[in-house]
Amino acid sequence: MNQVDLVDFIDWSGVECLNQNSAHSIANALKQGYREDDGLNVESDADEQLLVYIPFLQVVKLHSLAVKGPEEEGPKTVKLYSNREHMGFSNVNDFPPSDTVEFSAENIQAGKPVVLKYVKFQNVRSVTIFIEDNQSGGDVTKVQKIAFFGTTVETTDMKGLKKIEDH
């Protein structure tokens, strides 16, 4: 099955980002068009951590995650929590993450997709991204792009369907 960019399946009305700088909001990193622009990024506010909650319009399977950021302020440790609603910074350490990704400076700059533990993300209604720290350890974390790749569970993607040959 082809992995598609799941940006079309994001339920924008429920997207939340805690500790974001209001001038640099999460839409800059998630929305089509905004995320391609490296000048537009989401920035953290009070400290370097960010907590992003993304609900999906339907159940999806997550295959990989692409995160792009500047070399210094880009995220380093990113923890993903599947199907946990309304987390806060206080309880983010109460559950084990579904997956943890450590980005190096090169791959955060390149923004190439990183494969996730597919088995943990088979039935995803919502995903929470906890950006724990950044590359340089400074007070502000900047993210230029966050993109999920995967497949949907319920609907079939017609382009992916192959014609079954008659025997």
Partner: protein, 401 residues
């Protein structure tokens, strides 16, 4: 009308026994709290408010966020004064209470009544503020009561740590004759982020003081819109009427102005928006209408010096409504003085054959009647002198178009 969950932190420490606010600090605070509860629940029916006490034996949550105003007011009874203020844990517990609110769509707000000295240092308060900001909780601080050195600065530091886009506020209220609640009403603590509070304060028949028509567009947008549209229509009508009156006055004697104006307005009322349209079409219609009124005038045997009033009035009346025009015409004649302006009639009257034919069709008018013939002749003779006035009127009507 922001959907919000609020936790109010009450200071019930020993310092609240003081009487520098009437009747006592604690009472004044209680009144203010009651007012706030009312304001919040009224501004949005889904808003929830919770109360906790900060001093006493320890921080105690009296009610978790609820929409029930009765429960909140009941909580305020039977509170005991004692102990010391513990602002740090109070804010943290308030934050926890908000976190477990039923409706996750509500924004989070904490209101702190700081009436006694604060024993924590600035750094501690700032880190608390930062945590609140990270969780997007807004904080309102009411600084009253004990005037401690450094207290205002500490609270200001806390505010700057929390503040995100001016959603958090601080109010310093020195002791004085005004009640604590009265002073609070005018502050952003009540008015939220600049909205809603005035609606509560002016509750009752005079509600919606900020709004044009006493109707809150948030509550009733259709009604507000309808009121606004009808206001504008009325204004447009009156402007059109005023214009017509001005035009009439410029070509008329003073005496007729008043009657014409009143007639214009009554005409405007009866004919409505079509009046403006009718005025625009006045010029092409004027010939026919002038002819009509000339015929009527002759039948009434009045001096044929019809005023331009009648011209414009007739043209304003709908084409279809010529009976109405005739009736109005007659009623006008009673209050009218003779004028000498003849305007369009002259051009009509030039076509005597036309006139005679029309007159012949009218019952009771004999075109061969000498008086009628004399009248026609005299009118015709005046045609050259009235040409100038006619041109003026045409120019005025062109401008109006």
């Amino acid at each position: 009308m922001v959907l919000e969950a609020t936790m109010i932190c009450i200071d019930n420490s020993e310092w609240m026994r003081n009487g520098d606010y009437t009747p006592s600090r604690f009472q004044a605070q209680a009144d203010a709290v009651n007012l706030i509860c009312g304001a919040k629940t009224q501004s949005n029916p889904e808003n929830t408010v919770g109360i906790l006490t900060m001093a006493g034996k320890g921080v105690r949550v009296l009610t978790t966020p609820t929409t029930d105003l009765g429960k909140l007011l009941a909580c305020m009874h039977g509170l005991e004064i004692g102990g010391e203020l513990n602002i740090a844990s109070a804010i943290q517990i308030a934050q926890l209470a908000l976190k477990h609110r039923q409706n996750k769509n509500q924004r989070q707000r904490i209101i702190v009544f700081a009436g006694s000295p604060i024993k924590y240092d600035k750094k501690m308060l700032e880190s608390i503020g930062k945590k609140l900001k990270k969780s997007s909780v807004s904080l309102d601080i009411v600084d009253f009561g004990e005037e401690d050195e450094g207290k205002p600065e500490k609270l200001e530091a806390l505010l700057t740590a929390v503040n995100n886009n001016d959603s958090s506020h601080i109010v310093h209220i020195p002791p004085g004759p005004n009640a604590l609640s009265d002073v609070l009403i005018s502050t952003p603590v009540f008015t939220g982020d600049g909205e809603g509070g005035s609606g509560f304060v002016a509750a009752g028949p005079a509600a919606g003081g900020d709004y044009d028509f006493g109707v809150d567009p948030n509550i009733d947008p259709e009604l507000a819109l309808a009121l606004r549209v009808s206001m504008e229509e009325e204004r447009a009508r009156q402007e059109a009427a005023a214009k017509r009156a001005a035009e009439v006055a410029s070509s008329q004697n003073q005496g007729d102005e008043q009657s014409s104006k009143s007639q214009d307005t009554t005409m405007a009322d009866t004919t409505g928006a079509s009046a403006a349209v009718a005025t625009d079409a006045a010029e092409p219609m004027s010939e026919v209408d002038a002819l009509l009124q000339q015929a009527i005038a002759l039948s009434m045997q009045t001096p044929a010096s019809d005023s331009a009033v009648r011209d414009t009035d007739m043209s304003e009346a709908n084409n279809e409504d010529q009976d109405l025009a005739a009736a109005l015409q007659m009623s006008m004649q009673e209050g009218e003085k003779d004028s000498s302006g003849q305007m369009d009639m002259s051009e009509v009257l030039e076509d005597q054959a036309f006139v005679s034919s029309v007159l012949a069709s009218l019952p009771g008018v004999d075109p061969n009647d000498p008086s009628v013939k004399d009248l026609l002749a005299s009118l015709h003779g005046k045609s050259e002198s009235s040409d100038q006035k006619k041109d003026e009127e045409k120019a005025a009507k062109d401008d109006e178009k």
